[in-house]
Symmetry: none
Subunit: 524 residues, 2 copies
Amino acid sequence: MKTSTGVASSLLLRLDSQSSTPLHEQLFEGIRARILSGALAPGLRLPSSRQLAAELDVARSTVLQALDALTAEGYLVARAGSCTRVAPELPLLTGERSREPGLTGAARAANIGRRQGASRGPRLAAATRALRRSPVGAPRLGAAPRAFRPGVPALDLFPTALWARTVSRVHARASTGLLDGGDPSGHAPLREAIATHVSVSRGVRCSSEQVFITAGTQQAFDEVLRLALNPGDPVWVEDPGYPGARRAVRSAGGRPVPVPVDGDGLDVGAGLAHAPRARVALVAPSHQYPLGVTLSLARRMALLQWAERTRSLIIEDDYDSEFRHRGRPLTALQGLDDAGCVVYVGTFSKSMFPGLRLGFLVVPPSLVDVVSAARASASAPASSLEQAALAVFLAEGHFARHLRRMRAAYRERGEALLEALHADCAGVLAPRPCDTGMQVCAFLPAPLSDLRVRDEAARQGVEVAALSDYFLGRRRESGLIFGFGGVRPDDMRAGTRILARAIEAARRRGPRSSHPRAKGPPPR
Amino acid sequence: MKTSTGVASSLLLRLDSQSSTPLHEQLFEGIRARILSGALAPGLRLPSSRQLAAELDVARSTVLQALDALTAEGYLVARAGSCTRVAPELPLLTGERSREPGLTGAARAANIGRRQGASRGPRLAAATRALRRSPVGAPRLGAAPRAFRPGVPALDLFPTALWARTVSRVHARASTGLLDGGDPSGHAPLREAIATHVSVSRGVRCSSEQVFITAGTQQAFDEVLRLALNPGDPVWVEDPGYPGARRAVRSAGGRPVPVPVDGDGLDVGAGLAHAPRARVALVAPSHQYPLGVTLSLARRMALLQWAERTRSLIIEDDYDSEFRHRGRPLTALQGLDDAGCVVYVGTFSKSMFPGLRLGFLVVPPSLVDVVSAARASASAPASSLEQAALAVFLAEGHFARHLRRMRAAYRERGEALLEALHADCAGVLAPRPCDTGMQVCAFLPAPLSDLRVRDEAARQGVEVAALSDYFLGRRRESGLIFGFGGVRPDDMRAGTRILARAIEAARRRGPRSSHPRAKGPPPR
C-alpha cells in the first residue's frame, strides 16, 4: 500500500514518512523499544534487511542504517553471511522503578572535619616528589599542543571568528543581572539548550531543571561525589581508566576500587565480586578512556540493575562520544535508566575547546532539589557571560554544525593516523579500532616499556601517553595513547616517523625494570 | 455602617479596625497586594483620597499615609493637581513573594524531607533543612540585584562596551594554545599584570611566579586549605566573619575556631588563648567582613609573629580594600611578612564584576613549587580567553582607570546611604564609619531582632543582611549589613524609607525569641 505509513508486520512496526524524524531513526527507536520491552525476545532472528525494506516500503539503505546502529549499540548481533538476531544476553530491567539511588552520606556533615586523605606531611611530600621526577622531556602543560597529545581537539578548525562575534554580542548587551553572576545552578537559557541538545543527540532523557552547569568535568565529578559519599566509601573506577576520575574520588573522601575493563567495557561481574557495596560507579560507557571500548548492552543492563538494587549511583562520564566517526552516536546510558540512578556528566572541552572550562551535570529528578540546595549559597559555577554566549551558540545552531564538521574531521584524522602507524610502526604497534573521538590506544609487544617509549618520544619532540599510567591495579598491558584530534592529516607521518625511532631506541635499551612511575598522563 | 469593618467598594478593600495592624498599613498592604495580583491594572485611576476615606470610614490622613507610601515605593504615581494612578510599570524594588521560586523551593524541600528523610544521611538532610528554613523573603540569588544586597558592585558603571571590545579582540585572535586552555597556573601575562598591580596598589611583594589564577575567592581558599590542613586541624576564623571562609575550612577537613573581632580587628590574643596550635588563620585585615574594621598594626605584628613562631599560615582575604574611598588603600598584611607565612587572596568579583569568576593567590616563594605541582595535572583554572582579556584590560590601563572611578562612586554612594539612613532611621540604626568598599554595617538597639528586620524588609522588597547570620559563636551584636555598591545615590531614600517601616513593623512584633537560623547571608 502506498500511504504515508509503512508497516512491518513481522515486527509490528509502523513508520511515518511525514514525520520530521528520519525514517532510519524511527526504525532504530521502534526496534530498540521493542527489544527493551521484551516484545522482541533475546536471540530472536530478525527478518532480512531486504524483507524489512519491502514490508516498510523504504529503501534498504534506510533499514541497514538502523540495523547497523542497533548492532553498534549491542541490541542486535550480526554475523557475516548470517542473519541478524536480537542480542542473546539482555538482562531486561524489570521490577519497581520507584526507588532512588542511595546517597547515604551518613555522618558526613559531622565528618566533614575528618576528611579522608593523607596528612599534610605526606601530601606535600608527594607533591614535591611528583615535581622532581617529572620526566625530562615532558612538556609544560601550558605549552602549545604537540602531536600526539591526547585530549586536544581540532582547534585549528574551531570557528574562532564566529565564536568571537557571539561572545562580543553577548558582552556588549550584558545586563547587570548577568554581570552579577546569575543563577548558581547555571544560566537558564544554557541549561535549556543543553537539555534539548543531549536529548536529541545523546538520547538523554531530561528537563532543563535537571541540568546544572559546571566548570568542567572535574568539578562535576567532585560535586556529585561529595554529595554521595561517606568517608571511605568504595567507588568503582575503570582500570585502566581516567586518572582524573580517581583523583576526584580520593578528594571527596572515597576509596577508588579498580574494576578491570575488557573488550566489552567495565567488567561489572568483577565489580560485583570485589566491591558489591560500592556507593558509586564512575564509568565512561560510550567511549572508555583510554582503551576506547564501548560498554556492551548486557553490561549496561547489569550495571543499571546493580545500581537500582543497591541504591547506588552511576556517574556517566560522556566526555567525547558525540564524535562517533560514522553513524549516529551511541545512546547514553542515562537514556536506559528508569530508576533515576544515573548522573550524566558532559563537557564542552572537546566539542568547543578546553580553555572554555564549561561542562554540565544531568541529575535524576530526585536529586534536583538537593543539588539546588547545595548550590544555593554559592557563586555562579562559571563565567556568566561565557555561559550566555554558549547558550546563543547552541540555540542558533552553530554548535550542531560545528559538531558535524568535527565528526568528519576526526574520521579523517583517525584514518590518517592509523595509516601512518601502519606505514611506520607496523608489526610493533597494534592499534585498537578507532570509530569515536580523538584518540586511539595501540598495544606494544610485551617486553617493550611504554614508559620508556613515551620518554624517548618526548625527548624527540613527540608526545604520547603510556597506557601503564592509566592502571590503578596491576598493569596488564603496555601501550601508547595517541591523540590525533589536534594533528592535521598531512602531519601524521612526521610524528609517526619520530615515534618509530623512539620505539627503536627504547628497544635497544631493553626493558625498564624499575622506572619510577611518572607523575601521570596529561589531562584527557 | 458603623462596625469594625469598612469596605471600599471601588477597590474591594476591607479594613479591620480591631486588628493590631494600623489602618494605614492595612490599606497599604491591601492596595499593594491588588496591584501585584493584577486586580488593579497598571495605569488604573484610583478614587480620590476623600472618596476612599469616606468609603472606608477612616480619616483622610490614614488614606494619604498609605497612598504616599505606595507612591514612594513606586506602586502608585501621583501628579500634582491630578489623580493618583497605579504605576504603568512595576518598580524595580518590588519583590512579590508568592511569585518567587523561593516558596516553591521551600515546598519542594518539605517534599524531599518526606520522601528522602533520614535515609540519605546527615549531609543531604542538612541540605534539605537549609532549603526549608530559607527565609520567606530571601531572594533568588540569580535574580537581578536589589537594594541593598551586599557584595553587588556598581555594575551600572561598569564599562561594558570597552570590556566587550577587549574580549572580542582577544577571542578573534585566539591561538590554538589559548583555546587549549593554557597553563594550569594561569595565563602568564595575567599573572604578570596582577603581580605589578598588587605591588603598586596593595603593597604586596611578589614576582609573577608567586601568582596563581583561581576561579574566585572560594576556590582560592579551598586550594590553600587543602594543601595546608590535616584532618581536624583548627583554623582561626573571624567572628563575626565571612561564612564562605568557614565553609571552605570545613570542606577542606579543618575545624573553624571562631576568634572575636572588635574595633581593632581580629583579637589575636583571644586566638592565642583558645587555639594556639591552629595551622591557619583566615583573616580580612584591611576591611573586615562584615564589620568593616581594620586590623591594627599591633595586631598585624602579633599575628605575623604567631605564624612565624608556630610555622602556621595566614590567608589574607583582601576582597575589596582597593576601594578605599579617600587616600591610598591600606597596605596589605602580605607586605609586612618577612617570614613567608602569608598567602594573599584577591578577586576580580568586586573590581570587575562577580560573573567573571576570576581571582588569584599570591603564595610565599617557598610554596611556589608545591602549588605548581598540585596543579600540574589539572586543567586551566578558569576560562583562558577571559584570563587573556583581563590581562589586556590591566596592561592597557583600563582596569586602573575603572578602579579610580569606582572609588569615587563608592565614596558618593556610601555618603548617600549614610545620609539616607540618618534621615529615615536616625536614633535606631547606628552605622559604623564607612571609608572602604561597598557595604556598611549598622548596629540595631538591643531588643530588636536583626533577623526580623531583615525578613520584614525583604517582604517589602528591600534586601539587607542580618549581622546575626555572620556569627559562628555567640551572637554578640545585632545589626544590618547594607550593600550600597549597586544602588544609585538617588535611589537610596526609596530603600531606607521602606527599611524604616520594616524596623517599625519588627519593633511592633517584639523580639523574636526562637527564630530559626536562616540558611545564611547572601554571598559577599
